[in-house]
Amino acid sequence: MSPEIVSQLSVGGSTLVLLGGLMMLWRRGVAAHIGAFTFQSVALAATMAMVGWFAGDWQLWAVAVLLLLVKGIGIPLLLKRMGRRFGSERELEPYVNTATSLLIGGLLVLLAYIVTAPLVSVSRLPTRTGMPLAIGLVFVSLFIIISRKKALTQVLGFLMLENGIALLAVLGTHGIPIIVEIGVFLDVALGFIVMQVFVYQIHETFESIDVEQLNRLRE
């Protein structure tokens, strides 16, 4: 695979991953959000596999498979179960409406391009062209966490943030050392499980997962 094709493919893959994040801003409803996350994880695994093929690094393949299993299949299954419990709630209007959210998302992607200009100029890897999109996903995920009102959506925003960082690592460095990668995976999986337990707890205590209700502690 020539470097130009790798460059095109990495931009293509990163764009799909970023689109998954933007779909979270666009579509409403828990099922659509879970679908966006699954799509994003699959696109990320595919990009990782592509970079692994180009770099000839079997460890990246292993990580891609792990990512697919955990984030493409495992976590969405758990999320769907949660979605069935909490998804039938009233469709909550987020703090920022959809059209404005999408525009802000676009602006954040532009901001990411500006911020990562030094990175792209320093690197010599052909996959560097997708790095601004990865940082763009990080910013968009932060925006999702801040502007959405359902605890479940905030958890999805956090998972997308981790996806963005994984994409950045793959594109910028062709993968981080395997111990760290596995450790990060375990951390995210554990974090997700604990967050899941908390969402159930919130639902039990507050009778809804609307985070606007979490306002008793002030000052």
Binding site: Q8, V11, G12, W26, L102, V109, L110, Y113, T129
Partner: protein, 313 residues
């Protein structure tokens, strides 16, 4: 064949094919919905019928009402001369600029909206305001998406954009291209009045956008407007087809190449028509306040297309 003759030939081909395209889409939708459906050449028969019918004009209407159909039809036919339908380079050479195309189409929309307001009918006014909302939101996206393509080609001349993809075929799968395609596809749905923005076969006035504006028209005026709408659909489809997959377009003006180009165009139109039919069968119409969300999404796609083609230079 002289290049000057090419323009009228291209326009004639477009005029001939446009109603057939609308008929084909209608037929495909009917078959998908397990209906018999009217035959694909039905719109031709409708046009013939309309041209023979009497024109009834409201007493409140002014000269604008009678002039609008001609302006709309004329501007759309001019656009067919400026887009890469059959050949590259274009018959009118340097005049085939993207911005000219966009604003000619907008001119048509503008006059149609005015004509909707002119007779003073409430449905006409409602349709006109809705149409302008959609057009205003869709316009920046079109410009931005073709700008993304233009960046790669180095010029906003549509012919040059198309020929660039012919020269380097791998450009067709470039992320910037694909995103621009998606963005223009969404805009096509909006501008040509297709689901999920507007239902072209609705008979409920409160759900109409385009149909509401032309509610007052009859006879040959209605025929001209319907034909112009079909032409607009054809223009957008040919933009989608020939800018992103320009294979089949004639680069030399020989009868053989032109015939081949007409065939390729017909095939692309049918393919895109099939996609539209599938989309329309599966999606319900969006409520009007949700349309800006769809158009914002297409705007973001266009923005990403620009940044993607900016990066991978």
């Amino acid at each position: 064949m002289s290049p000057w003759l090419l323009g009228p030939v291209q326009a004639a081909v477009a005029l001939m094919l446009a109603p057939g395209l609308v008929g084909a889409i209608r037929w495909m939708k009917a078959r998908l919905q397990s209906r018999q459906g009217s035959p694909p050449w039905q719109p031709y028969l409708e046009l013939r019928k309309l041209f023979a019918k009497e024109v009834v004009v409201s007493s409140n209407a002014s000269w604008l009402f009678r002039a609008a159909p001609f302006i709309v039809f004329g501007s759309t036919v001019t656009v067919t001369l400026l887009v890469p339908l059959l050949t590259v380079p274009l018959p009118l050479g340097g005049a085939g600029d993207l911005l000219v195309v966009v604003y000619l189409l907008l001119l048509g929309t503008f006059f149609l909206a005015l004509a909707g307001l002119d007779p003073g009918s409430p449905f006409g006014g409602m349709g006109a305001s809705r149409e302008m909302t959609v057009a205003a939101l869709a316009e920046p996206t079109v410009a931005l998406a073709i700008f993304a393509l233009a960046w790669g080609a180095g010029s906003t001349n549509l012919g040059q954009i198309a020929s660039r993809t012919l020269i380097t075929p791998s450009e067709a799968l470039a992320p910037g291209h694909v995103l621009a395609f998606a963005a223009i596809f969404l805009v096509t749905l909006a501008e040509t009045g297709r689901l999920p923005v507007d239902n072209p076969s609705t008979h409920l006035e409160l759900t109409m956008i385009h149909e509401a504006m032309v509610l007052e028209y009859s006879g040959r005026y209605l025929a001209l407007i319907e034909w112009a709408a079909a032409l607009k659909l054809l223009v957008f489809f040919s933009l989608l087809g020939n800018l992103f997959a320009p294979w089949g377009v004639a680069s030399a003006i020989t009868p053989g190449a032109l015939l081949w180009a007409v065939l390729a165009l017909a095939l692309k139109l049918l393919a895109l028509g099939g996609v539209i039919a599938l989309v329309e069968t599966h999606i319900a119409k969006l409520r009007l306040f949700r349309v800006p969300e769809l158009l914002s999404a297409s705007f973001i796609l266009a923005l990403l297309a620009v940044t993607a083609s900016f990066l991978v230079r």
